[in-house]
């Protein structure tokens, strides 16, 4: 069985490497983008991940905007999207929820927590 593909979007190279390693070791396939624009380009180019994990604070297109754009793409309405951010304010969580994010993780994320949540969302991944 092919492993589920998780698409990580973050402008921090360190975060991309860190999460890729954690998720790959947990048995998932990983695809990465360093900006909202690159993420949109990959998704429009045919990438169909099982789960998207995105940061909020990124250059021109932030994570909330990315979620909104992804949600209106055909076939992406129900793909789970997790937000991973340093922010902890309730208002920001509400904003992500309103944009139809699936969940919220505060950085730094413990590897066990990350894998547990991903497995919860993708039980067959």
């Amino acid at each position: 069985m092919m492993p589920a593909t998780i698409f990580i979007v973050d402008d921090s190279a360190t975060i991309l490497m860190s999460m890729e390693a954690i998720l790959t070791k947990a048995g998932f396939a990983v695809s990465k983008a360093a900006s909202g624009e690159e993420a949109m380009s990959k998704l429009q180019g045919g990438l169909k991940p099982s789960l998207i994990i995105t940061d909020i604070h990124m250059g021109a297109m932030n994570g909330i905007e990315l979620i909104k754009k992804v949600r209106v793409m055909p076939g992406f309405q129900f793909i789970p999207i997790l937000v991973v951010t340093t922010e902890s304010q309730q208002s920001k969580r509400d904003e992500a929820r309103a944009a139809k994010a699936t969940g919220w993780l505060v950085k730094p994320v413990q590897p066990d927590d990350l894998v547990r949540v991903v497995k919860q969302i993708l039980p067959n991944g």
Partner: protein
């Protein structure tokens, strides 16, 4: 006639002195922090002093000049602090990526070693070596997790840079008010600035620090670190 001449000449003399002082200050700043940074200060000083410079006696104007000079230097310091922050971000980013690459390599070699032990060393000795190899690889995932410190640090420094821009804007506003008698009793809105800084705080630790700086021991309720909607 004599009085009229004096009143006509004095502003010119003062203007010349102040221009020279502005130029000297900008020159000193150019030596201390570089011409690119110092150049705007001359403009700022000239603007701050020249705007209403005829309204006060020369002694007051010179005091205003000194205050404007100090304010301009604060901007140089905040700029230096931002530059230092950028440097820290860059250095830690490079270091974190090198560590991450190293960890990837160790992880791959440990996996390869375990595979070879499985195929080439059957028996109790192989089990011992395999156990050792697994124990070498075990902490790697946790280390990858810890590398996220770099991104957290980067965002903390970005927050400090935003705060320093708020201070810069306030300093410029203060400098522009100098010489305006109507401005003497309204020197700025520190409370608004402080409240704005709280709005810009995104991490719970930053918000706690902000409340502590306000003299309160208030800790806001924060949501769980992991939450599915």
């Amino acid at each position: 006639m004599m009085d009229t001449d004096k009143s006509a000449i004095l502003p010119l003399v003062l203007a010349t002195v102040l221009a020279a002082l502005s130029s000297a200050a900008a020159g000193w700043l150019a030596g201390a922090i570089g011409a690119a940074l110092a150049a705007p200060f001359g403009v700022l000083l000239g603007y701050a002093i020249g705007r209403h410079w005829g309204a006060f006696p020369s002694r007051v104007r010179l005091s205003l000049f000194r205050v404007a000079d100090e304010l301009a230097q604060y901007r140089a310091f905040t700029r230096l602090m931002r530059d230092q922050g950028d440097r820290i971000t860059e250095t830690t980013d490079d270091a974190a990526q090198i560590i991450a690459s190293g960890l990837h390599e160790i992880d791959a070699k440990v996996a390869s070693l375990i595979e070879r032990i499985d195929t080439e060393m059957p028996g109790p000795d192989g089990e011992v070596f395999k156990h050792m190899a697994v124990s070498i690889g075990d902490p790697i995932v946790g280390m990858f997790g810890k590398l996220q410190f770099q991104d957290v640090t980067r965002q903390q420094l970005a927050f400090l840079a935003r705060l320093s821009h708020v201070l810069d804007e306030h300093m410029v506003a203060l400098a522009q008010q100098m010489g305006d008698r109507r401005a003497l009793d309204r020197v700025g809105q520190f409370k608004q600035m402080f409240d704005q800084a709280l709005n810009d705080c995104v991490m719970s630790s930053q918000r706690d620090d902000h409340h502590a700086a306000s003299g309160t021991d208030f800790k806001e309720a924060v949501g769980p670190k992991v939450e599915l909607f």
